[in-house]
């Protein structure tokens, strides 16, 4: 037996490296393909030639190239970033809550952030745009606190989700009340509130990107501790993980990531629920791979959803959040049924 141990590869984890990297490269290729389709398909379809030209040798006079660079490209960038951030937030939430049903949308964090953003915009009309993410963070934190209080000490996954649904309904209702009071605001915000991505969102991205970048970098630093935490709270603690601090940091990162996304594109649900499960099918439970895989998969999913939003009822558009809900709701139901068996 001892001989076999000695002849084992230096580290089996190392043997996985080429496979994992190849998988990631394939996903990036898929992302590039979807991004290309996203740029060339839409209300008016454009040829591959004009797509190439728009990217390499942009001529603003050409109408087709103009659509690509001024309308679709900003929208693509927003979809990429939003999808990636939501997916990473979902991985973090499922990890620290030890709950496969956790998602910033289902647990009320998105709707809390949305309510605070709407409230902030209506109550303080003169506020600087740079403040918007901060409203969203405050709302996300408040909602998270409410859900934690409601779900109690003995957290069962189902109870946590139930508390999340209640808080989501509460904030959605309060947002509706605010908008009834202010009819003008309704027209401006209705689009945003169903999770819409538009060309103008690139400007909003400028207010939140430092937050998003910081959030993603700090999440990467947690990967090792998340791996240890996967063994259970007590085992992680005995391995030297400060479990309380890890949970607090993860929650703060979820708040920053999903708050930033809400400030840009409104509450988009289900990406944070679905993508971690997809990533786990590919790389199982090593967070050092799970996080980058989820990042790319989230971007792929949201770019695809945004593409579908623009082409299924051409020349009209559906909001992207509605597409992600159409895809995500059945997955959610399947997960719940799977747990009940």
């Amino acid at each position: 037996m001892a001989e076999r141990v000695l002849s084992a590869p230096a580290e089996a984890g190392a043997a996985l490296w080429p496979r994992r990297l190849l998988g990631l490269a394939l996903l990036l290729l898929l992302l590039a393909l979807m991004a290309g389709l996203h740029l060339s398909l839409g209300a008016s379809s454009l040829e591959a030639g004009s797509l190439w030209q728009a990217l390499v040798d942009y001529n603003p006079q050409d109408a087709g190239q103009n659509i690509i660079r001024e309308i679709r490209q900003p929208r693509l960038v927003v979809a990429l970033v939003v999808g990636a951030a939501l997916a990473v937030a979902g991985v973090l939430m499922q990890a620290v809550s030890n709950n496969p049903l956790a998602d910033p949308g289902l647990l009320g964090i998105n709707s809390g952030a949305a309510f605070f953003v709407v409230g902030g915009l209506l109550m303080l009309p003169g506020s600087q745009h740079g403040w918007l993410p901060l409203y969203a963070f405050a709302g996300a934190a408040f909602a998270a606190l409410l859900v934690l209080l409601l779900s109690g000490r003995q957290q069962s996954p189902e109870r946590l989700v139930l508390a999340g649904v209640a808080v989501t309904a509460l904030f959605a209702a309060m947002t509706a009340i605010l908008l009834i009071v202010d009819q003008q605001g309704l027209d401006k915000l209705r689009h945003w509130l169903t999770g819409a991505i538009g060309a103008s969102d690139l400007k909003k991205l400028a207010w939140v990107w430092p937050w998003l970048l910081a959030g993603l970098v700090l999440t990467a630093l947690l990967a090792r501790s998340l791996n240890a935490h996967h063994l259970g709270d007590r085992a992680a603690a005995s391995l030297g993980v400060n479990v309380g601090l890890l949970k607090l940091a993860s929650l703060a990162l979820v708040i920053v990531l999903s708050g930033s996304v809400v400030a840009v594109a409104g509450p988009i649900g289900f990406v944070g629920l679905v993508v971690p499960h997809m990533a786990r099918l590919l790389v199982r439970s090593d967070y050092r791979w799970l996080l980058p895989y989820a990042l790319v998969l989230g971007a792929v999913l949201l770019v695809s959803a945004d593409l579908a939003a623009r082409i299924v009822v051409r020349p009209y558009e559906i909001n992207t959040g509605i597409i992600t809900a159409l895809v995500g709701a059945p997955v959610f139901i399947a997960l719940v049924i799977g747990r009940m068996r």
Partner: protein
């Protein structure tokens, strides 16, 4: 090596340990015995720094545990928790590799020392045959050995084991006991909660007997393993005989009908 001074600890609204003092010297195998609910696990968790004492101190090599970083503690002592799960999607190899967590950092991921400790832990627990299998597919006994391997891979001078023989069949229990004896001979200190009194008496150097949140008796097996102590701690009437070959003390519980001669046995003990 590890000592506690007038320790009171427990959970919210319930104090479990009352004013416990205990000193465990380095390099020995200490078995922690006591009836269910007497505070063995609470004591083990407090010794490991997993539970903060309400009052009193835990000293590891004369340094207070409360002031040490959890990583530094994890390089000194490893804990095998009582209920060990099978985290979803994890292979045996990945579990055992996690034992090296306190020795690694973000920029230094897997060293030769890590590999050596990993190989030794795998060889000592005999789990090399199913390293690549998911934990979920293993039997309770196999899984328990994998968790023990994870604890060994941590390569600490101190090992705290909470009922390590759970799920193990008798042959593997004996194997684990002799593994612990080997580790002790290598200079490690092992503290283990055990249920089998005879196993504890046969293998441990020292016994700590707990009753109702306090240490009732502590000392070498020969001094502490007495009918009087067993009666007080476990409410068990038993006779202690000696194994004719090894001379190890063995406790034989007495049924109601046999207890007539109890007084004499106690007088002997």
């Amino acid at each position: 090596m590890l000592s506690i001074e007038s320790l009171t600890a427990g959970y919210k609204r319930k104090t479990i340990l009352h004013d416990v003092s205990l000193s465990i010297p380095g390099g020995g195998f200490v078995a922690l015995l006591g009836a269910n609910g007497c505070g063995k696990t609470t004591l083990l968790h407090t010794l490991a720094g997993l539970l903060q004492p309400a009052s009193g101190r835990v000293l590891l090599n004369d340094q207070e545990l409360a002031g040490m970083s959890s990583k530094r503690i994890a390089r000194q002592l490893a804990v095998l928790p009582q209920v060990t799960e099978a985290p979803a999607g994890l292979t045996v190899r990945e579990l055992v590799m996690q034992g090296r967590f306190p020795w690694q950092s973000w920029w230094q991921q897997w060293s030769a020392a890590d590999q050596q400790a990993f190989d030794q832990a795998v060889a000592a627990t005999g789990i090399a045959d199913y390293l690549e299998r998911p934990l979920e597919q293993l039997s309770g006994g196999q899984r328990q050995r994998c968790w023990i391997a994870m604890t060994l891979a941590q390569d600490t001078p101190l090992l705290l084991l909470d009922e390590p023989t759970t799920y193990l069949d008798i042959a593997h229990q004996v194997e684990l006991m002799s593994l612990i004896a080997t580790l002790r001979d290598q200079g490690k200190t092992i503290i283990a909660v055990l249920h089998d009194l005879n196993q504890a008496a046969a293998w441990a150097d020292q016994l700590v007997m707990m009753k109702a949140g306090q240490v009732y008796a502590q000392g070498p097996v020969a001094e502490v393993f007495t009918p009087a102590n067993l009666a007080a701690v476990f409410d068990l009437q038993a006779r202690i005989i000696k194994d004719p070959h090894s001379g190890q003390p063995i406790c034989v519980p007495l049924a109601e009908s046999q207890r007539a001669g109890r007084a004499e046995v106690c007088a002997d003990g």
